[in-house]
């Protein structure tokens, strides 16, 4: 069993930042055209997955 992480595909993301505003762990780094989840901070709560207008973030192993 691998470790679960939230993966945000930079090829499909619109970089709108909606997930950043809801993340309870302040774990999402958004720049002009890149986004990354800090897996040390991420608690895998799934709020970013729920709120994304496009359905980009996913929990993967």
């Amino acid at each position: 069993m691998g470790e679960s992480v939230v993966f945000i595909d930079n090829e499909r993301c619109d970089f709108c930042g909606t997930c950043v505003g809801v993340c309870p762990a302040d774990a999402i780094e958004l720049r002009e055209s890149s986004i990354a989840v800090d897996k040390e901070r991420c608690t895998l709560c799934g709020d970013c997955v729920d709120v994304c207008p496009l359905g980009i973030p996913e929990v993967v192993e």
Binding site: G17, T18, G21, V22, E32, D47, C52, P53
Partner: protein, 389 residues
């Protein structure tokens, strides 16, 4: 870029640009930082604003106006159409030009504007914010600022870094997607708003014309519903039905923090403005005018505080007080109405639409809508009465 400024504004949208302009006009040295390469791009907005609201905050330039709006067509879940032609005119803006000109105005007032400037943290001294940590052109920098103004949008992190509670619960976010369509046929002076569980649950769909052949067509749904079905899917379904064969000139995603303004929007050496402070109207999702009103107050207070050498929470709270005088009450009522409206069923909305058809178009105000729904819906009267106590 220098190593220190009186005021550092993070975020180059309308709130940030106004804060910068007004602080600079009061004599402060001001740095405005924008993470994207160009002010105003990408647009993350439906671009609608009321004429009276806009004139409250700025002298309006013709080049900002993509379309003058004279009426609204409200469409209920069963397709009942209610037209409304209030006294008030609205505008659909060219936000690219609007934001650009506001940044130019800030610059002309003496602000130094820097783009592609990514702020990644604050510098603090004994709990007081003293500046920002940032990267610009591949170079890490620390810039000192007596006051930092966070105007960094729905994705704001500046407040959190200073210890303010700014997170919006996902169920309170309106999660949105919008396509700018071309090759369509719309009535250019009328916006359309569509309601219903199948169209945009916990929100609404908008058609904001920009001329006769193009429009911003988008929707926002409550974060509560976006787990099961994404806004993008709702929008694609609508567009395929209503505008088959349309060209999609651009598509954007975005979120509106549809909550009351944060209780704490200042702390030692720091202020929050606009979406970062959650100053958007929670019912309509409109945020431009509020952000600019707040930016004006925040910029002035910041400059005065710096001149007096007191950037404490207590001094900066003059901004909080002034803001609650200007819009605090509207914001709270709007939020309460949003909560009640969110509980309306499709049947309630259909009923409201039918009642409204009996009212002359110029008298179809929000108040009438409420009467129409609630006078026939006793269980909601209790909820509504809470709005006015």
């Amino acid at each position: 870029m220098k190593d220190r400024y009186d005021v550092i504004v993070v975020g180059g949208g309308p709130g940030g640009a106004r804060a910068a302009k007004h602080a600079a006009e009061k004599g402060a040295s001001v740095l405005l930082l924008e993470k994207d390469r160009e002010i105003g791009i990408p647009v993350r907005c439906a671009e609608g604003v009321s004429e009276s609201g806009l004139r409250r905050v700025v002298e309006v330039k013709d080049r900002w106006i993509a379309q003058v709006i004279k009426g609204a067509r409200l469409v209920s879940p069963d397709g009942t159409v209610v037209e409304s032609y209030p006294d008030e005119v609205g505008f659909i803006l060219h936000r690219k030009l609007f934001d650009y000109d506001l940044a130019v105005a800030a610059s002309q007032a003496g602000t130094e504007v820097v783009t592609k400037a990514y702020v990644q943290g604050l510098t603090m001294d004994d709990g007081v914010v003293t500046g920002v940590r940032m990267t610009h052109m591949g170079r890490a920098r620390r810039i000192s600022g007596s006051v930092v103004i966070g105007a960094d949008g729905v994705e704001s992190r500046v407040g959190r870094w200073a210890g303010l509670e700014t997170r919006t619960p996902f169920g309170e976010v309106e999660t949105c997607v919008q396509m700018t369509l071309a090759g369509i046929d719309v009535d250019p002076e009328v916006v359309e708003l569509h309601f219903g569980r199948q169209i945009a649950p916990g929100g609404y769909l908008w058609i904001f014309p920009k001329g006769r052949r193009t429009a911003n067509v988008g929707l926002g749904i409550s974060g509560v519903y976006s787990r099961e079905k994404k806004p993008l899917i709702y929008l694609k379904e609508f567009v395929e039905r209503r505008f088959p064969g349309a060209s999609v000139l651009t598509m954007i995603a975005g979120g509106v923090p549809a909550v009351p303004t944060l209780k704490k929007i200042v702390t030692d050496g720091l202020m929050l403005v606009g979406d970062a402070a959650r100053q958007v109207d929670p019912l309509t999702g409109g945020g431009i005018v509020n952000a600019m009103l707040a930016g004006r107050i925040a910029g002035r207070v910041a400059a005065e505080a710096v001149q007096e050498g007191d950037v404490s929470t207590r001094r900066l709270s003059a901004y909080t007080k002034e803001w609650s005088k200007v819009d605090g009450k509207n914001n709270k009522i709007s939020y309460k109405i949003k909560k009640v409206v969110g509980r309306l069923s499709d049947e309630d909305l259909n009923r409201a639409a039918r009642v409204l058809l009996d009212v002359p178009p110029e008298k179809r105000t929000a108040l009438r809508v409420f009467k129409a729904v609630f006078l026939r819906h006793p269980k909601l009267i209790v909820e509504v009465s809470k709005l006015f106590v």
